[in-house]
Symmetry: C2
Subunit: 337 residues, 2 copies
DNA sequence: AACGTTGTGTACATCGTTGTAAAGACATCC
DNA sequence: GGATGTCTTTACAACGATGTACACAACGTT
């Protein structure tokens, strides 16, 4: 059976509080006593019970990161960043997959688990500002991403409009004139898709290119298969595009698969650019040009906000942070030559 | 502030125990009382404090899955399976990244977090049987993978030797004679790499092909870059291979990238097969042949073992389960023609 | 009238930990 | 000798939930 502080106290012949003092590094413990207790701790392999510690009002050293789908590389890579950087705060990160389902997301922010953790970072898909406001749980919360930019909580995002704009401007600079977009979500307002679409249209306007609704492909999710399917439809058009901006890398890789399978050369016939800069894009053939959000910075900013929030007395003003991105040009948009 | 059972009791004008009874569905609560309590519960948005419940000896409904690297697609996909299937038991899965570091793995199995969870599933990289035996924590534990097949705990794995054997036999059946292997780990005994190497050699023997140590490439990790680097070295040989068995898909995709970049055709010049069947291999060009472990079955078996172990009185015999795999032939090993 | 049965509610102790308060030991100072 | 101060250790309560034990009513049954 796992040893409790009481067992240790009995073995060392001191009170439980003294053991607690040793465990927590309280300074006024006689050297001899400390040693005695330490021996007992080691012999019994004592591990503090985090449930008890937490119940007593303390910290567990755990924070949770909730993402829609862990098998989506962007989220996996982001999660890895969090795990890595959280060490600087002495935190362990538990990852929670919500599958983008409202019930799961609500459960997460409403505190089912938050009685166990010190802080919470959520990348929401279905949650609305109303849910956030109705929240009673006081566990420090930070939101990631584009949804819910106006909810009264700390928030980290990137400038999606500018990112999309940069991607499409890059395609236009290559001399492409029929630039398609894969990833719109007409039925969801205010999300990532809407912002990237806005950037797409903005870039077309600036490049004095016509906006052709037939070149904008809607999708239900942001997976490879969606990109592959959308690309099929684009190639079946009377006038297929000569470039495609995909709203994420996964769809771009699916699109490239379709293009190559149908005998189109990338980038010669059709240039492709994605968004997210997942590792896969560095090893695909061709390698994938993309808009690279600074994932490390996102994680760093979010952790800092959680940290501040844990320290903060009451309800300081919600903070808004924006992480950088950069355009990464690889083979899939290499200039002809 | 989050409402406790006490707040609810005060509001409903009953004792805390009565509230507890309502929450837990105890049958002998008068309809009127139940309704009163329910109203108070709803109004206050009560959520049970899992720390307290757990401390008292109860369940939290949480289990943890610890994997080395969440950004490795195999683990991400496996984790997603666990999350999905755990619902059948009413469990929520928390994912924990150990980075394959001994300290992290030890911390996980020795119970730092297990005071918070009902069960634990670990895919170890560095842990040894000694650590498992020294474990004092009684949280039900199930191990995944090939390491530690002899530790006294429940265990789920696949037949790696047979899987590797099938992959290499497939290459031999295509008429390939110089079949390389990427992924050996000479300094680690008993792990995945050793077993897959064994299967490789077994298949060569059966196909009456010579074993050429120069064709076996060691790696430190199982990432894309390792596969790409190893492939470079193989192509620099006097007599390069005409087929490659990579010990996982990620390295296979890295190897394919190198091959294509250096002008080799896949599969015509060099056939490539991997292991794991990650989704990425269905969308790469060429699509990737692979040995596909039944991830759903792995998750299902592991969850069943944890479930049994939670129910089991004391220490029932450790169980050993083996999940199936199948050979998936795609473009990267398509017969010439 | 005495007793059991069934249903409904409550008081209390407990899980492991740590903050608070306070007690004891010893030294120092006037 | 008594007051003061510095260490060192301890007893106790509390965090929130729930199992145990019991009180009390309402209803039979003998």
């Amino acid at each position: 059976m796992a040893a409790s502080i009481k067992d240790v106290a009995a073995r060392a012949g001191v009170s439980v509080k003294t053991v607690s003092n040793v465990v927590n590094g309280y300074q006024f413990v006689a050297a001899g006593t400390r040693e005695k207790v330490q021996r007992a701790l080691d012999e019994l392999g004592y591990r503090p019970n985090l449930s008890a510690r937490r119940l007593r009002g303390g910290r567990t050293g755990l924070i949770a990161l909730a993402v829609p789908e862990i098998r989506v590389p962007y989220f996996a890579e982001l999660a890895a960043q969090f795990v890595q950087l959280a060490k600087e705060y002495g935190w362990t990160v538990l990852i929670d997959e919500t599958q983008g389902a409202l019930d799961n997301e609500r459960e997460v922010v409403e505190g089912i688990k938050s009685h166990l953790i010190d802080g919470l970072i959520v990348s929401p898909l279905a949650l609305t500002a109303k849910h956030i406001e109705a929240r009673r749980d006081r566990t420090p919360l930070v939101l990631l991403g584009e949804r819910l930019t106006h909810a009264p909580v700390d928030h980290v995002s990137i400038d999606n409009v500018a990112g999309a704009q940069a991607a499409v401007a890059h395609l236009a600079d290559l001399g492409r004139t029929r630039i398609a977009a894969i990833g719109s979500q007409p039925h969801i307002s205010g999300g990532t898709a809407a912002l990237r679409l806005k950037g797409y249209r903005q870039a077309l306007r600036r490049a004095r290119l016509a906006y052709d609704p037939a070149l904008v492909m809607p999708v239900t999710r942001f997976h490879r298969a969606d990109g592959a399917r959308a690309m099929q439809a684009l190639l079946d058009l009377e006038q297929p595009p000569d470039a495609v901006f995909c709203f994420n890398d996964l769809m771009a890789l699916g699109a490239i698969r379709t293009l190559l399978a149908r005998g189109c050369r990338v980038p010669q016939d059709v240039a492709v650019i994605g968004f997210d800069d997942i590792e896969e894009g560095q090893f695909s053939t061709p390698t994938l040009s993309t808009v690279a959000p600074d994932k490390e910075q996102i994680a760093r900013l979010a952790l800092r906000l959680v940290h501040q929030r844990i320290g903060a007395r009451d309800d300081a003003q919600p903070q808004e942070e924006t992480a950088d991105f950069r355009l990464v040009v690889r083979e899939s948009t290499a200039p002809a030559g």
